[in-house]
């Protein structure tokens, strides 16, 4: 019945040492690639390791070194395409460097919840944290609580203590806006993300910059919640207005909902109104009409985060990455007037 507890003790470093006829410390040296060890001694040890199928015990190592070889991911955006892709990038990069990854999803972003999450990760002895919680408030909380370990955030946050990085949201949003302008549009609405989100703000700034540069009128943004459902209702609402010819939606999901809302209201895209999104999710190229959008390399963002974090942990020079370029993907949903 109880099979797990009957399992014999796993071989330890001392078992290996005995079999190889050396001291346990020598085995430890082999495991850690210590330079001064005779090749033939090393070979004996490696043989013994193979024979016993010895595997180092991470807990023991973590206990004595106070390093867990584990990175924490603190995320508040579950299930969305972008963050999820970044997490995949983080994991791959971390594993490549021999680090494992412990993920923690925030259910809500109250200061207490964030505090608990960080404490939890700190208990788990993670060596560093990547934060994917792009709400402004999360940063304020993090700054306020002075996290006692290295951390990197995946979105640009002005004034945050930890390092942060992201694709160049402002430039991407501006490129989207300029694309619409170049197609002859002058009355361009913005379907923005929630007020608290840093990315929402950056994309709105890009939108405003683009319009101001071209001396075009700006409109008060419509505040959405990133969901396709919201986009749908926004489309129905907007179909009643006739003071614009193009919409820049802050993400693809809202843009696709918008297409649906327009369709249901008899507004033809791109004939009557042009639409452009942001993110380039996998279906963007296949919806009707195919969605013009701004592509960003989420996994690369995750990989960069890991490189920065590891440099901090190891006390090495922290690499400087320029902002990650976004790529405009012009498709059918945005057309000339």
């Amino acid at each position: 019945m109880s099979s797990a507890s009957e399992r014999a003790r796993l071989p330890s470093i001392r078992d290996v040492a005995r079999l190889a006829g050396v001291s346990h410390q020598t085995v430890s040296r082999v495991l850690n690639d210590h330079p001064s060890i005779r090749p033939e001694t090393k070979a004996k040890v490696l043989d013994a390791i193979a024979v016993l199928d010895y595997r180092p015990n991470f807990a023991a190592r973590a206990l004595v070194t106070s390093k867990s070889n584990m990175l924490g991911i603190l995320s508040a955006t579950i299930g969305e395409f972008g963050p999820t892709s970044s997490i995949a990038g983080i994991e791959d990069a971390a594993r490549e460097e021999g680090y494992s990854v412990s993920t923690l999803n925030l259910a809500d972003t109250t200061p207490e919840a964030i505090g608990n999450a960080v404490r939890q990760l700190s208990r788990e002895q993670v060596d560093g944290i990547v934060v994917l919680a792009p709400q402004v408030r999360v940063f304020h909380v993090l700054r306020g609580m002075s996290v006692d370990m290295p951390f990197v955030t995946l979105q640009t946050a002005s004034g945050s203590d930890g390092v942060s990085l992201s694709a160049d949201q402002v430039a991407g949003a501006r490129a989207a806006t300029e694309h619409l302008i170049s197609l002859g549009h002058s009355d361009i609405l913005h379907l923005a993300g929630p007020q608290d989100w840093i990315e929402a703000e950056s994309r709105m700034r890009g939108y405003l910059d683009g319009l101001r540069e071209a001396d075009l009128p700006t409109f008060p943004p419509i505040r959405g919640d990133w969901t396709a459902d919201f986009g749908y209702f926004a489309g129905k609402e907007l179909s009643l207005r006739r003071d614009f010819t193009a919409v820049f939606a802050a993400n693809d999901l809202m843009a696709i909902g918008l297409l649906h809302g327009f369709r249901d209201s008899g507004v033809r895209v791109p004939h009557d109104v042009s639409v452009i999104g942001f993110d380039d999710i996998p279906v963007a190229a296949h919806v009707a009409p195919t969605l013009s959008t701004v592509h960003q390399d989420f996994p690369e963002l995750g990989r960069r985060a890991v490189r920065i974090l590891l440099a901090q942990i190891r006390g090495e020079q922290v690499p400087e990455f320029g902002p990650l370029q976004t790529i405009l993907r012009a498709r059918e949903s945005a057309a000339s007037r």
Copy 2:
């Protein structure tokens, strides 16, 4: 410059004991909710813990108990909506039970890669593994290597050693097929998933069952790769054929690509051909035409997996879950002849 290493030693159980005027073992008992401890002693200890901001050291605990309070997620399906949603469910359920979660993405599904992944997780001392690697071969490898710890797989695999569970793929696929039949279709194609995938096989079985039951002709399935791009090309190909009036795609992504391919070829959906998908991804309700599909509760699947795994780990009665019901979501893309 080196701030991390200067950090003073964190308070240990003995520091707490000294401050509270008890032995370290008493502190340990308080931490582990040992029954026989005087309330006033407990209060003293808790005070000391609060004063010192003491946090238990997971590594030390893991070392002595050989339990890490950590679950591993072994995943080979990066970035897809379904698995990702299940992972979110797994994490939430695990955290609720006080377990942390270590995720590991397989880059490929060779036996070596799978073996390394399991070994890696075992080194990390995870107490159990949830496997989200729905390829048949993964199961064969897992079965072959006799994993020495509890594991649960998230897809039905006949003959696997570990427990496994999933939504009732066969019933869902059958419901989709029957929906098409009830709309008057009798020539129904299946755009299947890759041969190696268990879910692909289950969904195909449901399709075949549904047709056989109704005494309708079956067609050799078209083997896809789950991507919208493949669906698109399939749509272009299929537009040349006229021997069918409906298509059941094994997932929504392919279905959406299919809609695109049909659209580009002048095939009208649902006027000329009906299409139904599987998964109910968030955009399914918004593409044009809105996509009929089969909904499944991925997060719940993840939560159930955790409950089963923890029961195994704790040696409790493993809960029996019936197959998770799927829900048919009839929308515009499937219509009567």
